[in-house]
């Protein structure tokens, strides 16, 4: 663990972060929330700087720093802002920052899915419900924050518990891994091309390397695609020949993800569908407004309906 960061420094930094968080939580009276935010940022910064110092030659790119700091800052604001609407909006900002981090991690599909589903659907639902559940200000009651929004409950206990959790998690993570080197992308991701001969053909055609009539050759039922050598055996009216891949021919993230999803987890898709159906039904049932009608009124209404129907039938 010493290769990444000294443990004491990590814990001290986390302690500082915790202190900052605790201070930043909303309070009834005048509260030094900004100071809390600064403290938290300082703590986090210390940790990151120290981590960076340890590996001076391989610093993360500035995009990483930007996205993570924005994300964490927005998350902090989600938690500490007195007004619920602002919390939701800051959450959207957090989602966008996460999206950026996903892009850094070559998970483009997930980044888009996150924005569309999470920010676009779930958060909007939250906003609707917030609007629904916030009481409109009346004449004698000026618009003000409710007490339950402004005051935080037991900030110290919560902070201590959470920070202990984080310290343990990070400690475990760091203790478990020696030197963490990412592997290069594209080494084995392209192995999927073996199962996508049409894809190879389309790519080669787009690059203009083969004719429209040429196909990938098969030997023993398997397409002859050499992934490591980045070439494929192509047969055509002119006979077989090896064709090298262009630079941009590779498996994209969406394709790989789709393959994995449908190949390895088909059952989960069905179950996910059922879950969504249940959620929809449940939400509809739960939020039905119960109207209390006493027996007499029910009877009157039934008679009224019968009379109107009879009148209609008679007329």
């Amino acid at each position: 663990m010493d290769q990444i960061i000294h443990p004491i420094a990590l814990y001290l930094g986390l302690a500082l972060v915790g202190l900052g968080l605790c201070v930043a939580l909303p309070r009834a009276r005048v509260s030094p929330q900004i100071i809390g935010g600064i403290l938290a940022a300082a703590g986090l910064g210390v940790v990151l700087v120290l981590m960076g110092l340890k590996s001076k030659d391989a610093l993360p790119s500035p995009y990483f720093y930007v996205f993570s700091l924005v994300g964490l800052g927005a998350a902090l604001r989600v938690v500490t802002h007195p007004r619920p609407v602002y919390s939701a909006i800051y959450f959207i900002l957090t989602i966008l920052a996460s999206c950026g981090l996903y892009l850094l991690l070559s998970a483009e599909f997930m980044a888009f899915a996150l924005v569309i589903v999470y920010a676009g659907a779930i958060l909007i639902t939250y906003l609707f419900v917030i609007m629904l559940a916030t009481q409109a200000p009346t004449e004698d009651r000026t618009e003000g924050l409710k007490a339950y929004d402004t005051a935080a409950r037991e900030p110290l206990a919560a902070t201590v518990a959470s920070m202990a959790l984080v310290a343990v998690l990070t400690g475990m993570l760091f203790a478990g891994s020696a030197k963490l080197e990412p592997r290069n992308a594209g080494v084995s991701a392209d192995a999927l091309l073996l199962q996508l001969p049409r894809r190879v053909e389309d790519g080669l055609k787009d690059a203009g390397l083969i004719d429209r009539k040429e196909r990938v050759a098969y030997a023993d039922g398997k397409p002859q695609i050499d992934v490591e050598g980045r070439r494929a055996m192509v047969t055509g009216p002119d006979g077989e020949r090896w064709v090298g891949f262009p630079e941009n021919l590779g498996v994209q993230n969406v394709e790989a993800l789709g393959f994995n999803l449908l190949n390895a987890h088909p059952g989960s898709i069905e179950i996910a569908g059922v879950i969504l159906l249940m959620a929809m039904l449940g939400a509809v049932v739960l939020s039905r407004r119960q109207v209390e009608i006493d027996e007499e009124a029910k009877a009157r209404q039934a008679r009224h309906l019968m009379e109107s129907r009879g009148a209609e039938g008679g007329a």
Partner: protein, 747 residues
């Protein structure tokens, strides 16, 4: 030479190896007939049946008739037993009770055998005859006496009565010390139950407790004696013990008491303590006067005739053991004599006639113990026999008075009862009883008392006891006739007692007798209407004394006849009479008769003022008795006009503080209370605090701990979502922390 060795030197040659048939060596024990077991079993059966009567809520006199029937059959079986077995000895085993055997550390076989067996010899027969006989008669008396209490109380009384006779039978007829102890405890229990019969009266309850507790003190000595006997001789059965004691008697004869082990000498002393407790000797006598709180039949049976003689029986039965101890018999004699004297002095100053009779019982018991101590077990047994009859008769007469005068027992408030209509039988019974008690010449009491007195002077070193007993005889005559002259003769006058309301409905109206009326009035020699004795004298208000009915009169008459007849037993048979013959053939095998037989040989022989006591004592005791009667006549009859005053009152101021002290029973009870009861009470207060603070505190702490635990944990359940969430998060963090640290430490 010590006192005991002198005594034994005088008598032992006769006891050992004499070819006289009267004191032959102990015959082998044969097996007895099965029906002997019925003698104790029938009273037990009656007890159970009375219990059944109580359960089915019988309201008639059925329990009484059941008891009388069972006891009567028991008595007849006793008579038959006497016919069959007098002269021999046998053991009947009813069932095997305790039979343990083991091998001790030396590899020898030890056994504790204590079967429910009955040892029948002539001493047993003698005792059982008067126990069962008196029990039957007194049960009959009680059927009328207790008749105002029919219902549950009646059944309870007769159940306890039956249980008592069963226990007494076990005591007397048992063939081992453990069965004797069972009977001992049983009679103590029944005494408690019956004294406390009126359990709603606090004084009765206190008296019952006092009796039981004082008996227990004695029982401790008895128990230790039994244990020591077992340890020393390896058995508790009589047939083994009495034979085992023989080897020591020779050593005792020669005066070599140091050859006899201390433990063997200790056994009789411990047994003696038990006898003192049960038979109300100094210092454990204070329960007997208080026991008069019980109904009169109880006093008559238990505290005059049977239970209190259990101590005498014990000593008589284990007489050989007493002979081998250096100090046992002298202690017995001295304690008996002193008890007799002290009780007599107290009796002289009491006003409650039942109390006076109680103290006279204590005094006469002292006589019996003194008799045993001066080696006349014959005299003691004869005195037991005669005393049983006349004392029972005296008590029952007092009871009749109490019954008829609504609980009045104060002799300053009753007078001339003998002249009231319907009371003649009672008066006659009282007269005969008083004559016996005072030792008037030619009554049974005269002969039996005389035997003891003579022996006291004959036995070496026992003369002071004789003088004490003689003085006591005079005092006895005085206070006995004080009662007679005050209550039964003189001007007619009465005041009712406290139980007027209970008897008022009997006294008024001709048809008020629910329970007397059904009996036949015809067979009665006395006044035709015995229903009401209307006093011609000074009645108080509308109270009429209630003369006794047929049952009471019949029993009193029977006892009177028996008391007179008992005198005749003295002349039946050889020197000492029938009773002496019975005693000789038993284990209370005595040196006294042998002594008389060889009286002319050159043994140490006490004298009375230079004369041979056997010849002279008749006259001396007769004179002393007469003197006592004359003094009582002068002080309590002459010139008495009212019930409350007599000539004696003029004498009282002259005697200084003595009458007051005597009336206060020499304040023995108060001394005991101060020395023993109060300290125990303080100790009990201490222990009450210990119980409250320590024991209850400990238990309460056990109760408090879960409660504290619970109230400590309750805030965790605040009902608040956030609280639970924080606890969950904290818990998870803690768990992970532990795992993390463990993994770090493991690495």
């Amino acid at each position: 030479m010590t006192i005991a060795s002198d005594i034994l030197q005088a008598v032992l040659p006769a006891m050992l190896g004499a070819p006289d048939a009267a004191h032959a060596p102990i015959q082998p024990v044969g097996a007895g007939a099965w029906w002997i077991g019925l003698i104790p079993a029938l009273p037990l059966l009656s007890c159970i049946l009375c219990g059944v009567c109580a359960a089915i809520k019988v309201k008639s006199k059925l329990p009484a008739w059941l008891t009388v029937l069972c006891l009567g059959i028991s008595f007849m079986l006793t008579v038959w037993m006497f016919q069959q077995f007098a002269g021999g000895r046998s053991v009947t085993v009813a069932w095997e009770w305790i039979n343990l055997g083991w091998t001790d550390s030396q590899g020898q076989r030890q056994a504790l055998v204590a079967n429910f067996g009955f040892y029948v010899d002539s001493l047993t027969c003698l005792w059982m005859l008067f126990v069962t006989g008196l029990a039957t008669l007194i049960a009959l008396y009680a059927s009328e006496y207790m008749s105002h209490d029919v219902g549950a109380g009646y059944c309870r009384f007769f159940a306890a009565f039956g249980l008592f006779v069963f226990s007494m039978a076990c005591l007397v007829m048992g063939d081992n010390l453990i069965l004797l102890y069972l009977g001992w405890e049983g009679v103590g229990l029944c005494s408690y139950l019956l004294i406390g019969y009126f359990y709603k009266k606090p004084s009765a309850v206190a008296a019952a407790k006092k009796a039981f507790i004082m008996n227990r003190i004695g029982d401790l000595g008895l128990a230790l004696g039994v244990f020591l006997a077992f340890v020393q001789f390896g058995s508790v059965e009589y047939k083994v013990l009495l034979d085992a004691a023989r080897p020591y008697i020779e050593a005792a004869q020669a005066g070599h008491f140091d050859e006899i082990p201390f433990t063997v000498q200790l056994i009789p002393i411990l047994l003696m303590v038990g006898a003192f407790g049960k038979s109300a000797q100094l210092p454990l006598y204070v329960w007997l006067p208080d026991a008069m709180e019980g109904p009169t039949p109880v006093s008559a049976l238990i505290h005059a005739a049977t239970m209190v003689t259990a101590g005498v029986y014990l000593i008589a039965r284990t007489y050989p053991l007493f002979l081998v101890s250096e100090y046992a018999l002298p202690i017995v004699a001295w304690v008996g004599a002193l008890t007799a004297l002290v009780a007599a002095t107290i009796g002289m100053a009491q006003f409650d006639i039942k109390r006076i009779m109680a103290y006279s019982t204590v005094s006469q018991l002292g006589y019996m113990f003194a008799g045993l101590g001066v080696l006349t077990s014959t005299g003691a047994a004869f005195h037991v026999f005669t005393h049983a009859f006349f004392k029972a008769s005296l008590f029952l007469a007092c009871g009749a008075v109490m019954h008829g005068f609504a609980g009045q027992l104060d002799l300053r408030k009753l007078s001339g009862v003998g002249f009231m209509k319907g009371w003649q039988v009672v008066a006659l019974a009282m007269l005969v009883g008083c004559l016996n008690l005072a030792g008037f010449p030619f009554t049974a009491g005269y002969f039996s008392k005389d035997m003891i007195l003579a022996e006291a002077f004959v036995t070496p070193h026992m003369a002071p006891i004789g003088w004490i007993l003689l003085l006591t005889a005079g005092l006895t005559a005085y206070y006995t006739f004080r009662v007679f002259f005050r209550v039964f003769v003189g001007p007619k006058s009465f005041e009712p007692g406290d139980e007027v309301h209970a008897h008022a409905d009997h006294a008024h109206g001709d048809h008020g007798h629910g329970d007397h009326g059904h009996d036949a009035h015809g067979d009665h020699a006395h006044a035709a209407d015995h229903g009401h004795g209307h006093a011609a004298g000074h009645g108080s208000g509308e109270f009429h004394p209630h003369a006794p009915g047929w049952a009471i009169n019949f029993v009193l008459a029977a006892l009177t006849v028996l008391s007179i007849g008992a005198a005749g037993l003295y002349f039946l048979g050889d020197h000492g009479g029938w009773v002496a013959k019975m005693v000789h053939e038993s284990s209370a095998n005595l040196p006294a008769v042998a002594h008389d037989a060889h009286g002319s040989e050159g043994h140490a022989h006490g004298t009375f003022l230079g004369m041979d006591p056997h010849k002279v004592m008749y006259y001396v005791s007769g004179i002393v008795g007469a003197v006592g009667i004359i003094i009582a006549f002068g002080l309590h009859y002459l010139g008495r006009k009212t019930a409350a005053t007599a000539n004696a009152d003029k004498l009282v101021p002259l005697l200084g503080p003595i009458p007051k002290l005597a009336q206060g029973k020499w304040f023995v009870d108060e001394i005991y209370d101060f020395l023993i009861v109060k300290p125990l009470h303080l100790v009990s207060i201490v222990f009450a605090y210990v119980d409250k603070l320590l024991v209850d505190g400990l238990v309460n702490t056990f109760g408090w701990i879960p409660r504290a635990f619970g109230s400590g944990l309750r805030p965790l359940q605040g009902g608040n979502l956030h609280g639970y969430a924080v606890q969950m998060a904290g818990g998870v963090a803690l768990l992970l922390l532990i795992v993390f640290l463990a993994s770090i430490a493991g690495l």
